[in-house]
């Protein structure tokens, strides 16, 4: 699981162009949206595409993302339980 969390942090920084954020700065339980990493609605859509492309998880309802993308910890647990690739 820690490997997956590390992988997610790397992907988030690279794919969401978080130029001034390092992996060490993202805590497993930090909020990804709002006061945490400050991600926005377009970032949420990018994360939905990432789940599909990299882990074979299709979210039928984008609102599901609100809970799944709460933190790296929550994301990693969801991906581990639902991934198809």
């Amino acid at each position: 699981m820690s490997k997956l969390k590390q992988e997610l942090k790397e992907k988030i920084i690279e794919q969401l162009n978080l130029e001034d954020v390092s992996i060490e700065e993202i805590g497993d339980d930090d909020a990804l949206f709002g006061d945490g990493l400050g991600l926005d609605s377009i970032d949420a859509l990018e994360l939905i595409v990432m789940l599909d492309k990299d882990y074979g998880i299709k979210l039928s309802d984008p609102k599901e993302g609100r809970k799944i993308f709460e933190s790296i910890e929550v994301m990693a647990n969801y991906i581990a339980a639902n991934r198809t690739k």
Partner: protein, 202 residues
């Protein structure tokens, strides 16, 4: 009779140089555009958290506008924005096209797709400088001083805007060029087609 308007300040970004009123602010010869604009942004101490999420055209327009508007430090909120270019959003359109060409690997990026219109860069400038003003983006074969002059004069003379940020921001592959200028009722360069053309070609 219309009042005389002036070009208060102007900025260029081209050939690895960021300049304001003809003076170099940043120069780095050996870099491609993405690295050049990133270093220029950091060097100029610009602050806008979404900068690195922008496409190339928006980064170009945003930085050219930011150095100019920060310099002028205007309290005027009603600054219209009238920009133009040749390539529209072609650079980003191509990136989007590449992401959807392969049906077996069809993953269009929302972050790229939102920039597949040239006027999105006006939105980025407006957000940073809290502008809720008139704006337009025109596509021309080449820089059109006459059209921009008439449009800016019309906006000011009909009181649709107090000032107008005008110019040219073009990005296509590795070719980039930004020239922005602020039309105002104050300044020391007369706003006319000849002066706009002269400053553009500096």
């Amino acid at each position: 009779m219309s009042k005389q308007n002036y070009i208060r300040a102007f900025s260029h970004i081209k050939n690895h140089v960021v300049s304001l009123n003809g003076e170099y602010l940043y120069h780095d010869e050996a870099l491609d555009f993405s690295e050049f604009i990133k270093r220029a942004y950091k060097s100029l101490d610009t602050s806008y958290s979404k900068f690195f999420k922008m496409d190339n055209l928006s980064k170009l327009a945003f930085l050219a506008a930011d150095v100019l508007l920060e310099e002028v430090n205007s309290q005027e909120e009603n600054i219209a924005i009238v920009l133009s270019n040749r390539a529209s959003s072609l650079d980003t359109d191509r990136r989007h096209q590449n992401s959807i060409e392969d049906e077996a690997n069809y993953y269009p990026s929302p972050a790229i797709f939102v920039y597949t219109l040239p006027n999105i860069c006006i939105g980025e400038i407006s957000i940073k400088h809290k502008l809720l003003s008139e704006n337009s983006f025109f596509i021309f074969d080449h820089f059109n001083a006459a059209y921009l002059f008439d449009y800016a004069e019309s906006l000011i003379n009909t009181k649709k805007a107090g000032k107008v940020l005008c110019g040219w921001v073009d990005f296509d592959e590795e070719n980039y060029e930004a020239f922005l200028y602020l039309v105002s009722d104050k300044g020391n360069r007369i706003h006319n087609k000849e002066e706009i053309t002269r400053l553009y070609t500096l």
